[in-house]
């Protein structure tokens, strides 16, 4: 009666809390393995004992779906998020993203590889800023590490998820990138092909109000927002 | 009985030998680089010769014709190495009993207590080799080889790394080995004194070939067998202990000639062998009087050999056995020494070095 969840590492705070609530309510244990979406997806390809997969990224979910690794009809977009421009320390918000990025290093997740970086690059490209700032971008292997660069003041600006910015007191949000400047940011969730019945209950719980409350509190938006 | 026939090339050096080693100590004798260690290693199986056959009694250890080659651990030989090669992580006791672990059951091995007593290593048993003196180490190494119940003992210059005092301490143990233990011994040495004292049989080597082999008494009294230089020349005689005198002198008798030595440990009636170095012997035409030398052996000159140098080597036949004397060419002329001349060999009693007084058995057993 243990449900094993493979989830993108950035969901740790939320899922730890939700899993604890679920166990208390339903009696089933929930074990969550947090790692990068790509590592988790490969492990599921290799037959990992995961019941539920929550990716930070549609590409890897698409790949698993195409390979028949997830249970048909169980995939849905669980959460949405937005990316924001942040600054080190107390800096007032601004509408002028171009001016805010005029100088200094910009910390992002890997812009070709990690979802938050991919979205950020798309937004900057859309706004015609990418070519100008490209050489000042420093890329971290995950979005948390990018956040850390800004929090420590190593980079004055950074692009991270709104949910990350919300909980780091050493940074302030300058602006939120408009949703149309990048592909929709969604966290698709699905049952794996050989998930047990309890897993479906947990996936439902994730979509239910108790879980929703936790996600909302931590700044995640609904999938359609 | 060990029989060896070997051909082997290594680098510039070619070994080509064949010999048999009867019971007792067979000494391989020859200058550095003459191939002694190569032979011993081939017998031990640590080196595979190009061609050859090695057998101990009925068991063939190596036969390159039939392709037979027993690995070292199945040869049952006790190898005493020059540097001891004791196992540093084991106690003396564990070193001693190491070979026992592997000795075939039912093989008559030496009694450990007897070996330990014989080698005087009882007090060392629980110590580790690292803190033993060089002489103690070699005694343990001998014991270790013996207790492995070997069919043959190999000893490659077991005394070479020791100083004179240590050598003198170990030599008697090899004598006891020769006389009290039935295992044949192949012993490498380039010390004439060691050879004279220990050898039953001598195999003299030079540049990979055997120059002379035979019973020790014969080979040693041939003044031409001197691979390590003329200064080592000497003859070996056998003498029986007659009595111990009060003033610390032991009287012996060799072929009816009395011989006086400072006290030797053997009891009256026992036979011991003496090496009389040629350079310790004076010759006189007339029996000398009023001289501090106690030993005067009458004899007839057999042969006088002179070379380019100022020295000459004179062989005498005496009732006590062959005796060699090294004198100057000038004395040969002055005294008129020549074949057939009667004269007296004068040996100071103390001129017989203690390491040259050995226990006999070897010579008499040929």
């Amino acid at each position: 009666e243990t449900v094993t969840v493979f989830a993108a590492a950035s969901l740790k705070t939320a899922l730890d809390e939700i899993a604890a609530g679920y166990s208390a309510r339903m009696g089933d244990d929930v074990t969550v393995s947090f790692a990068g979406s790509s590592a988790l997806a490969r492990q599921i390809q290799a037959g990992a004992p995961a019941d539920v997969f929550i990716s930070a990224n549609t590409d890897w979910m698409d790949r698993l779906e195409a390979e028949g690794r997830i249970a048909a009809g169980t995939r849905s977009d669980l959460l949405g998020n937005s990316i924001v421009l942040i600054a080190h320390g107390e800096v007032p918000a601004t509408d002028d993203i171009a001016a805010a990025l005029a100088q200094g290093r910009i910390a992002m997740a890997l812009v070709e590889a990690v979802p938050a970086g991919i979205y950020g690059k798309a937004a900057l490209t859309h706004m015609g800023l990418w070519d100008r700032v490209q050489t000042r971008v420093i890329q971290a292997d995950n979005v948390r590490a990018a956040l850390a660069f800004v929090a420590l003041g190593e980079a004055p600006r950074g692009i991270v998820y709104a949910t990350d910015a919300a909980v780091e007191p050493r940074v302030s949000v300058l602006a939120t990138f408009p949703p149309d400047s990048h592909p929709p940011i969604v966290y698709p969730a699905a049952l794996t092909a050989d998930a047990g019945p309890e897993a479906a209950a947990f996936l439902d719980y994730l979509k239910g109000p108790e879980a929703r409350a936790v996600f909302d509190r931590l700044g995640f938006s609904g999938p359609g927002d | 009985m060990l029989s060896v026939a070997l051909r082997h090339r290594q680098g510039e050096f070619t070994l080509d030998v064949g010999f048999e080693a009867p019971p007792g100590i067979t000494v391989l004798f020859g200058r550095s680089g003459s191939g002694k260690t190569t032979i011993v290693n081939a017998v031990a199986g640590l080196l595979t010769p190009d061609a050859g056959r090695i057998a101990v009694g009925d068991s063939v250890l190596l036969d390159t014709e039939t392709g037979l080659r027993l690995p070292p651990h199945r040869r049952r030989l006790g190898y005493v190495f020059q540097e001891g090669r004791l196992f540093p992580h084991l106690t003396v006791r564990q070193n001693l009993f190491y070979g026992r672990l592997f000795a075939p059951r039912g093989v008559a091995a030496e009694d450990p207590d007897r070996v330990i007593e014989m080698l005087g290593i009882g007090p060392l048993l629980s110590r580790r080799p690292g803190l033993l003196s060089g002489g103690e180490k070699q005694r343990v190494a001998i014991g270790r080889a013996l207790l492995a119940a070997p069919r043959l003992i190999l000893a490659d210059e077991p005394l070479a790394a020791l100083d004179e005092a240590r050598k003198a301490e170990i030599l008697p143990y090899f004598e006891r080995l020769r006389d009290e233990v039935s295992v044949p011994i192949l012993y490498v040495s380039h010390s004439a004194a060691e050879v004279a004292r220990l050898a039953t049989t001598i195999v003299a080597l030079d540049a990979g070939r055997i120059t002379r082999q035979g019973p020790a008494g014969e080979v040693l009294s041939d003044p031409m067998v001197l691979p390590t230089g003329i200064r080592a020349a000497g003859a070996v005689i056998e003498a029986k202990v007659v009595s111990h005198h009060d003033d610390g002198i032991t009287e012996l008798e060799a072929g009816g000639v009395p011989i006086y030595l400072p006290q030797v440990p053997q009891a009256p009636g026992q036979v011991i062998r003496l090496r009389i170095a040629a350079q310790e012997v004076l010759l006189a035409r007339e029996a000398p009087r009023g001289l501090s030398a106690l030993n005067v052996i009458p004899g007839v000159i057999d042969r006088v050999r002179t070379g380019d140098g100022p020295g000459a080597l004179v062989s005498l036949r005496t009732p006590a056995g062959p005796v060699l004397a090294r004198v100057t060419r000038r004395s040969v002329e002055t005294l008129g020494l020549a074949e057939g001349v009667t004269c007296h060999a004068i040996v100071k009693s103390v001129g017989i070095a203690p390491q040259d007084v050995g226990r006999a058995r070897a010579l008499s057993s040929d």
């Binding site: 094993t4 493979f6 590492a9 950035s10 740790k12 705070t13 074990t31 969550v32 393995s33 947090f34 790692a35 590592a39 988790l40 490969r42 492990q43 390809q45 290799a46 037959g47 990992a48 004992p49 995950n142 948390r144 990350d164 909980v167 780091e168 | 031990a44 199986g45 640590l46 690995p71 070292p72 651990h73 199945r74 040869r75 049952r76 030989l77 006790g78 190898y79 190495f81 540097e83 090669r85 004791l86 196992f87 540093p88 992580h89 084991l90 190491y98 070979g99 672990l101 592997f102 000795a103 580790r128 080799p129 690292g130 803190l131 270790r144 080889a145 492995a148 190999l154």
Partner: protein, 230 residues
């Protein structure tokens, strides 16, 4: 250490288990490999040498990925082993395998050096006393290289305590099963405010590995003296 939560304790306990097994199981193989590299001549020796060093050279993620391909439930080796009841995939044993492989080059190097320092003439002496090769190894070589084995083992243990990249890539990060101290640290670092627990785990990890290292230095010195025969 009341300041460690149950999750952290579980990671510490798991890491100790994983590292200990990684060390113990790889030890015989490490000794054998080191012996082969030090003493034998065979074709492909340099290849073996290279292979042993591979985990040192490859980014750990790649090692983990290759392990996943080979030892996963779908991998050829994984499937073969599954049949005889051995599972590595997503199991603590897999974490031990990953840690063991990553630590292997260090272990082999340490042991190899100690074997090269053993005088082969002592082994010859043992052979002349009647000891067959395996016995020579057990009674002579092995006792003499104990300090090197000890050093290699502890080094491997310490390295295993710190292994992260290959482990998380191969066996994921499953609490109680494959979430070792480094994986737990990683997870904590993903969480706002997680630096605190992460640093506590770092301290535990460092203390354990240091204690092992210092103990090994001390024991090595003592054993070395004993082996020197004094």
């Amino acid at each position: 250490m009341a300041w460690l939560g149950p999750e952290e304790w579980s990671a510490v306990a798991l890491s100790l288990r994983v590292s200990t097994w990684a060390m113990l199981v790889s030890l015989p193989l490490g000794v054998l490999t080191a012996y082969a590299l030090a003493r034998w001549r065979f074709p492909g020796k340099q290849l073996l040498n290279g292979l042993v060093h591979l985990p040192l050279i490859l980014p750990p993620v790649v090692t983990g990925y290759l392990l996943l391909l080979g030892f996963g439930t779908q991998g050829p080796i994984g499937r073969a082993l599954e049949k005889i009841g051995i599972t590595f995939a997503f199991h603590w044993t897999g974490a031990a395998l990953a840690a063991g492989i990553m630590a292997f080059p260090l272990m082999v190097r340490a042991i190899r050096l100690s074997i090269e320092a053993v005088d082969p003439r002592l082994e010859q002496a043992a052979a002349t006393l009647g000891a067959p090769k395996p016995w020579v190894f057990v009674t002579v070589t092995l006792p003499m290289i104990l300090p090197g084995i000890l050093a290699g083992a502890i080094l491997a243990f310490a390295k295993a305590m710190g292994e992260f990249g290959a482990t998380i890539t191969f066996v994921s990060n499953i609490p109680g099963q494959t979430r070792t101290i480094p994986s737990a640290i990683y997870a904590f670092l993903q969480v706002p405010g997680g630096e605190g627990p992460a640093m506590r785990l770092v301290v535990v990890s460092v203390v354990v590995a240091m204690a092992a290292l210092l103990a090994s230095e001390a024991i090595s010195t003592r054993v070395a003296r004993r082996v020197a025969g004094t």
